[in-house]
């Protein structure tokens, strides 16, 4: 594992692909929990450097879609290619190799509560890089500084606010310089000012690191700010996909209803 990241993870330029090339390709993805069809034939493509915002009402399977992409849930049928590699039926060590290239921000940040902010961000580096303690410490400081938390690195997650936890989660997700960033409700539960700060931060980091991102959100303002493309999910299907403007001007009843309610 350590070798794989040493070879691939922290030297992204060696494995980088051409801009515009499809990085995530989902074809007819289906997922059910018992009798409940959560995803019912999802088709999406995300190109390199693109940010796709997945919108939809609660319970439409948005978070499940992200968890399938990172391998925490398994799809029932369909196909998902990540950088050209099919993940259906993939072996765990192969999935782990792909996971190292992906950063995941959980809805509630999911920070390790017994570790300090610094240790949380250092965790992926300790596990998957060959950095010395000094190099690791410098990298953690750089990451925390990039999310505006350079002064809080000794605090425990319980000692910082929800917005700060999201920032730490983002720093941890970026620790291994991922090529793909998956964000689950990055602004959920935050006040408008903190939400705006998180959006600006995501935008800045996307530009700096040329990330391919999938953002699950309810927040239309956030989607408008950070996304190149937007997909609206309903009852496990993609109702419409396009630019934010295209969806905002759509005559589709469901899309209009979704956008009207938020405005």
């Amino acid at each position: 594992m350590k070798n794989s990241i040493a070879e691939a993870g922290l030297h992204r330029s060696e494995t980088s692909r051409a801009p515009g090339e499809p990085v995530l390709v989902l074809r007819d993805v289906e997922k059910s929990f018992g009798a409940q069809h959560v995803l019912d034939g999802i088709n999406l493509t995300v190109a390199r450097g693109e940010t796709l915002a997945v919108l939809g009402r609660s319970g439409t399977g948005k978070s499940v879609l992200l968890k399938i992409l990172i391998g925490l849930e398994h799809m029932d049928s369909g196909s998902i290619c990540i950088q050209g590699e099919e993940i259906a039926g993939i072996a765990l060590n192969e999935m782990n190799r792909l996971r190292i290239k992906m950063g995941f921000l959980f809805q509630n940040a999911a920070l390790y509560d017994s570790l300090t902010v610094e240790q949380n961000v250092a965790f992926p580096l300790e596990r998957h890089s060959k950095m010395s303690a000094f190099e690791r410490s410098a990298r953690v400081k750089e990451l925390l500084s990039s999310v505006g938390l350079e002064k809080d690195f000794k605090k425990l997650p319980s000692e910082i606010s929800g917005g700060m936890q999201k920032r730490v989660g983002l720093a941890r997700a970026l620790a291994l310089q991922p090529e793909i960033l998956l964000l689950d409700e990055p602004t959920a539960g935050l006040d408008p000012i903190s939400s705006g700060e998180i959006d600006d931060l995501i935008l800045k980091l996307q530009k700096e690191h040329a990330l391919t991102s999938v953002v699950v959100t309810h927040d239309l303002q956030s989607a408008k700010t950070i996304a190149d493309n937007v997909a609206l999910l309903d009852k496990g299907k993609v109702v419409m996909e396009g630019s934010f403007q295209e969806l905002a001007e759509s005559q589709n009843d469901l899309v209009r209803e979704f956008f009207k309610r938020d405005s």
């Binding site: 990172i70 999911a110 390790y112 509560d113």
Partner: protein, 261 residues
Amino acid sequence: MESTTTFSSEGTVNRSLEWFGDLVQFSWKVICAAFARPFEFREIFRQLDEIGSKSFPLVALAGAAVGTVLALESRASLVRFGAKSVLPAAIVFAIVHEMGPIVTGLVVAGRVGAGIGAELGSMRVTEQIDALEASAVNPYKLLVFTRVLACIVALPLLTLVTDFCGVLAGWITVTLSDAISFRHFLDKGLAGVDFSDFLAPTFRTCAFGLIIGMVSCFQGMRTKGGTEGVGRSATSSVVLSSLFVILADVILVKLILILFP
């Protein structure tokens, strides 16, 4: 009424079988993870401290209490039958053979089982275990195998502590009524006990450690339903670990009697 009872008992049997099936699958994942790199030595030592060192005062106290009660109860009975001279042997034999291992198993099941169930349960409901997997870290290795191994290693060592404290407290209790030196007490106590008498009962607690670690981790890792679920996992970890430790004790005592007559 009768059919309702039948359905209910069928449901319980099905759920129990399902639980055992899931436990077997879980154990298989842990075994597979055990042989994969990295070997998590730092976490194993941390767990040994958490499970072993921090249980030390509790098992010492429990051992002392058992030794004291055993001495008080046995003395009264043996005096009645004129066999007071075998009191040291009775205390040492009872503690080393049965009381030390089972008391250690139950005390550790209570302290460690609840701790593991609650800790892993809390990590599960707050998505920390998902975060580990998303970071390409195998939770069966980092969280489960390390705890199970620490339980397997710690239990025999803690049993030695229980045995020693039990014998010491037994001697203090005996010597308060009939003064006897500790050395003389041990000589008389160990007269009929050889190394195999001591080895098999002590090492059968490795099985108790396996049960406590595996069952508690299993209950913790399958937690659902927020804080209430964490509470349920902690309780069920203790209850099931204790129950299986007692059942394993019965089976292992019989096996030891057959193998080391």
